[in-house]
Amino acid sequence: MLAFIVRRLLQSIVVMLVVALVAFSLFNFVGDPINNMVGQEATTEQRAELRERLGLNDPIPVQFLRFVGNAAQGEFGISYRTARPVADLIAERLPATVELAVTSAAFALTLGIVLGVYSALNRYGWTSRFVMTASLIGVSLPTFLIGILLIWIFAVNLQWLPSYGRGEVVDLGGWRTGFLTLSGLQALILPAVTLGLYQLTLIMRLVRAEMLEVLRTDYIKFARARGLSNRAVNFGHALKNTLVPVITITGLQLGSIIAFAIITETVFQWPGVGLLFIIAIRFVDIPVMAAYLILIALFFVIINLIVDLLYYLVDPRLRVETPAARTAA
């Protein structure tokens, strides 16, 4: 178990180094950073001096190591556009994205599992047929279209919910949360639904397919033959066996929820890191782009690590160290 965690941590570090290399190469390949930093009037001496001061004359490996060292300490340099430390910019914006992602993941997971189980158990019922058909819409409509449609219906026509922004936020020791105010919660609904709808349909269809698969197995038939109640069979035995693939997909999807929040954040002008990234691209603000890249990679790596550990909790077959069947009958 411990060896497994250590091995996975080492793998994660390798992944992070590769991502850091990509992020680092942004600085060198997307234009000359000095040009972006100094004005038109700067003299050649000034440029050379700045170049020396920033360490851009050092050999590339040295520069890379310095970049990694700084990044490990959460230091990503100064934003070209706002002239503020990138770490501060991200720290300001991160709560908005995390709250949005967590809310939509919770929405997608709860509703996805409930609807998936329901439509598997009532396979031929009207409701589940309707839900399955409706889920096709969720899978096939692009996120921005869903967002715009929701805005059109609930913000423009019905005027129930705000169409952009985060509403009022409360500062909790540096973490600005929208969970504690009514306008914050209202503003969260539309973006969270938009972001979570695709995941919801995906999880629902996955749970349904897995559940149908498990319900056909011998141990479910045997559980019924033992006279267990429907509830024990469906939820105790069947649902738990569908969880491993569901955890995998949910883990991966949670990563993409954070990564692809960019589109939703743009549609709803949600002040999160995704929007920050879009603006950074427009202004070729390379330190922000590099930091965003590394941050998203970090999320993916951490989530995958957690997913792997969850397998151990769910499936006892992964836990044993000794080979199966120690005693012959």
């Binding site: 056909r216 197995t217 011998d218 141990y219 038939k221 045997f222 559980a223 019924r224 033959a225 033992r226 006279g227 267990l228 109640s229 429907n230 024990a232 105790g236 035995h237 738990k240 066996n241 769910v314 499936d315 006892p316 077959r317 044993v320 199966a324 069947a325 120690r326 005693t327 012959a328 009958a329």
Partner: protein, 338 residues
């Protein structure tokens, strides 16, 4: 048409004219066609037949566990005189496990891999018996030791994958008998096991059922197992019953031409034969069941009537045989020389 062969004992299980159908797009398949038999308390009834003869379906139909779209289309199943084929699922589940235990073919897939053996035992025990967790666990340990698992107090907390196939089948049997059912339906309980372990499992089933007075419906295609275990044998062919009778009769002196063919195909030690006798042809598919007696195209003794009329079981001594050879008129005229 069903009469008791032995009227002194009331049957534990009565199956009357049972019919199992599978509606498909190309019409309805009749997988079990008009089958009647009974099992007395404590009796072991062997059910034999080729693959696809409807043995397993008959077993699952008795506790109404058919997988949709399969369904019971006719007939009755009675347990201790009470009809159980038309009970709602919620009532039926108090019969499953409690009155009728079931053992399936493949022990590797019969247990839920995510729960410990103890969890699955305690769960079943507490479903059927009013016991506390502690009592249920104690009974679980006793059961494991009864089915021959050593160090049960340690092994009860292990997961199914930590046991071998034979051990798992012992656990499955422990699960099937944990509420002291009066009948166990064992659906090919040894087919998936090594030959050396098969005998142990059969011995275990025999011992447990003998101790508890439990009746067994033993579905198998292993005639050796039948010969040494069963009291009576039912032979199935193409979803129908060919012959039912005491084990000695069926094995030593079978009446139905199909049973004769089946017995001739079993090699015996000390008998020198160039080759085993075999029945020509194959069992028909469910979509192409012949008219009259389903066996007549393969039957060496078939005559005109077999092609047109379906024989009902006819009592011949202690057996019942579905064959026109034993129709009274013919028996009287002495045409049934064997």
């Amino acid at each position: 048409m069903m009469a008791q062969t032995d009227s002194s004992e009331t049957p534990l299980l009565e199956v009357l004219n049972l019919r199992v159908e599978f509606p498909t797009r190309r019409g309805t398949l009749v997988a079990v066609d008009d089958i009647s038999f009974d099992i007395k308390p404590g009796e072991v009834l062997g059910v034999v037949g080729e693959s696809g003869a409807g043995k397993s379906l008959t077993g699952t139909a008795v506790i109404n566990l058919l997988e949709p779209p399969g369904r019971i289309a006719g007939g009755e199943v009675r347990l201790k005189g009470q009809r159980i084929d038309n009970l709602p699922q919620e009532k039926l589940r108090h019969i499953r496990g409690r009155q009728i235990g079931m053992v399936f073919q493949d022990p590797l897939t019969s247990l839920n891999p995510l729960y410990t053996v103890g969890y699955q035992l305690e769960e079943t025990i507490r479903t059927h018996m009013n016991m506390s967790e502690g009592q249920a666990r104690k009974r679980g340990i006793e059961l494991l030791s009864e089915v021959g698992i050593s160090a049960p107090q340690d092994r009860i907390d292990q997961y199914p994958h930590q046991f071998s196939g034979g051990m798992r089948q012992r656990i499955v049997i422990a699960l099937a008998v944990c509420a002291n059912p009066s009948l166990i339906i064992a659906d090919e309980p040894t087919t998936a096991l090594d030959v050396s372990i098969q005998a142990q499992i059969i011995d275990l089933l025999k011992r447990l059922c003998h101790e508890q007075g439990t009746a067994v419906m033993l579905i198998t295609h292993d005639m050796g197992v039948i010969a040494e275990t069963a009291d009576r044998v039912a032979v199935m062919y193409a979803g129908r019953l060919a012959e039912v009778g005491p084990v000695q009769n069926v094995i030593k002196q079978p009446y139905h031409p199909y049973t004769k063919g089946l017995m001739g195909a079993i090699p015996t030690v000390g008998q020198k034969l160039e080759r085993l006798t075999q029945i020509d042809g194959a069992m028909p598919r469910l979509t192409e069941i012949p008219s009259g007696c389903a066996f007549h195209p393969r039957c060496p003794k078939a005559f005109d009537r077999c092609d047109t009329e379906r024989p009902d079981p006819i009592a011949v001594e202690e057996s019942k045989v579905a064959c026109w050879l034993y129709d009274d008129a013919r028996v009287l005229s002495g045409e049934t020389e064997q």
